[in-house]
Symmetry: C2
Subunit: 405 residues, 2 copies
């Protein structure tokens, strides 16, 4: 049967392969040393506590096995999340636990908000570069991407204002803290000015914030949603994937009630409900561990990784032309090798010949053809000895690749 | 902030409230006795075995806590599901474990297949009546519904052929076994003839099959997907919700490889992955229990419920004009009270005044205004004493309501 002409236009015209997933698959096939996985370090999952939490939840006699009784998520988890964010100073006054909506990771959050608020042909403004699997959602839904250059302290405001003056923008998608792929954080001053622009040009903001709590020295600043105060135009996306474990598939949206009502309807049409037992277990976990201490522990480990990774990259690959930023949180280091004309071609060469995997920068730009010479590194799963070996392999691959040019 | 004009057309023009969910909420608020929940009986969840399975899985040292390594679902569960379906004679030769794609309940299966294969403006043929939360998915995606009357042995073939002759139908959505809401099963002879029509008029079939294993006396017959043989136009949807527990949120799609490839891309854009731990636990459960014996046990319990429910309804509400079918499997009894002009109005009256909840039939018809006089009952959660009390309340509500007309 020929399926070519049976798929929807979503599939034939819009749906993309996940560039990161394809790269990772190729790297795994070649047995390459991964220097770019956005997944947390396995050793930092609180496995023992997760097990205990599941045990406690499973020995509770309450009914976790039917369809969920909760429309937006398991209530104690909504309450915990709201309280935690409030204590951290991240929430404006209007947010109640009822404004929290649990999602299957923040990827589902991006997907649901896009379905709720954007039509095919609408335009979304994104940071350039930014997270490609979010681009994949927008493109799947026929939404047009417009990039604004991202500088070390946030988006280029002049470029943003020019774009807003010429094109109707419905939503700005931003990762304000330790951004993927750059590691950059948007300054609070820029957030304030972007909120002014949002009011003036009447666009909404999707604030995707999974890395905030992986922090080393400089704070990533406040949230857009808090800075916006009573102006409810910011839809906030949080995630437990990076600070607890991705396998739980638990993220959340913070949104005004009318949006939550719509999300509930999209939830029913899309999946009816999510599995409560995991939300109960997560709530048990965060209630029973010293969560701040847990965060301190993982931040310390990632900081050790970052320091070693930066050091190894600078010593080995610096002499081959690699320039990097040094992020103060998150997972990612954004690198540039100015003499590389085609980073995708180099990345493939590095995987196959050098047995070392990085993600080429082009995938992170909304504009096709941009990003040559850029590479994304992640130190999340890279211990100091792996960093040393990986950086040495990378440097060798760079030398050999240059000799081939 | 006025959200009215900010939502997508999906939300403003297409997204519906789930009629069943609204009704259930109202019934819960009024403390009404529920005679219509499509949820399994709490006492039949294998709670102890689920707990043991989770414990075994959680004490396994393998990494269940990162992003899923599986693109379509946890491999042993795919293999188990394929083997089980094959042993039951439900699968054609071309299906391998790689053709199984795990979903968050079969609701997500319907949603993903709709996204993969239907565009806004396309037409889907559905049984009239059928499952309204599937209609909700089709309508969310701008798909037009055309109903074909459902008879006790399956769709009205003359009506189907007339429709096919006048309108391009892309997909036929069917619940072939113990259908929701009618309890009807499509005969194998009709399945064969519908497959002939599918080839002649070149449409696909979404075969939604969650009730097959809740069976009392007459077998529901074979599957469309098996009957179609090498013709890969049937996309099959299975579910563990009714036979194990809905809270696991595990269903599956059986589809040809090109469709699976597309589903993988939709998975990444929509949610990245699902929580592996639950799939591992389910696989552990079905491998460690005598699954056929478990099915026998639940079928026996539901049969007892059905017998008592039918008896109570006939004795109490029969004299008030209620006519019912007697289903040989599944959860549902389809009833008609010919003198009721507005079943929605009566159902509200019954909830508020009679403290008894049934779902009015109108919600199950794709055609607005149809279904007057019809009521859907479910015996899934209704034990014999509840059935007796519920039927008595229903009969009283019918009497009092008639007196008001």
């Amino acid at each position: 049967m020929d399926w070519g002409n049976r798929f929807s236009r979503t599939v034939t015209d819009r749906l993309e392969d996940s560039a990161i997933a394809l790269m990772m698959r190729e790297a795994a096939r070649e047995g390459a040393l991964m220097l770019s996985a956005g997944e947390p370090m396995k050793e930092l999952y609180p496995v023992e506590q997760l097990r205990e939490s599941f045990l406690r939840v499973l020995s509770d006699e309450s009914n976790y096995w039917g369809y969920s009784k909760y429309r937006t998520g398991v209530k104690p988890l909504l309450e915990w999340t709201e309280r935690w964010m409030r204590e951290e100073g991240l929430l404006p006054g209007w947010v109640e636990p009822e404004n929290i909506f649990i999602t299957n990771g923040s990827q589902e959050g991006v997907s649901l908000l896009t379905g709720a608020l954007l039509d095919p042909g609408d335009t979304i403004m994104v940071e350039s570069p930014s997270y490609p699997d979010a681009f994949g959602v927008f493109r799947r839904d026929g939404v047009i991407l417009e990039g604004v250059d991202l500088l070390p302290d946030g988006p280029d405001l002049d470029a943003m204002e020019s774009l807003l003056a010429t094109k109707k923008i419905k939503v700005f998608y931003t990762i304000p803290a330790y951004q993927n792929p750059t590691g950059f954080s948007t300054s609070d001053e820029k957030k304030r000015r972007i909120l002014e622009l949002a009011r003036r040009f009447d666009f909404l903001i999707f604030e995707d914030d999974p890395y905030r709590n992986i922090t080393f020295e400089a704070s990533p600043g406040g949230t857009y949603i808090n800075a916006a105060g009573d102006d409810e135009r910011v839809l906030y996306l949080g995630s437990f994937s990076k600070v607890i474990a991705p396998a739980l598939r638990i993220g959340w949206i913070v949104a005004p009630s009318p949006v939550v009502t719509v999300l509930e309807k999209l939830r029913i049409a899309g999946t009816l409900c999510l599995p409560d037992v995991i939300q109960h277990a997560l709530h048990d976990l965060v209630s029973n561990i010293d969560f701040n201490k847990h965060l301190e522990k993982i931040c310390l480990a990632y900081r050790v990784n970052r320091d070693a990774f930066v050091d190894s990259l600078e010593r080995h690959a610096g002499p081959e032309g690699l320039e990097i930023n040094i992020p103060s949180g998150g997972f990612f280091i954004w690198g540039k090798v100015p003499w590389i004309k085609n980073a995708g071609d180099f990345a493939m060469y590095a995987i196959k010949k050098g047995k070392v995997a990085v993600v080429p920068g082009g995938h992170f730009f909304p504009e096709p053809g941009k990003g040559n010479g850029y590479l994304r590194f992640s130190f999340a799963q890279v211990t100091p000895p792996m960093a040393e070996e990986g950086a040495a392999r990378l440097a060798r691959a760079l030398r050999e690749y240059r000799d081939l040019q």
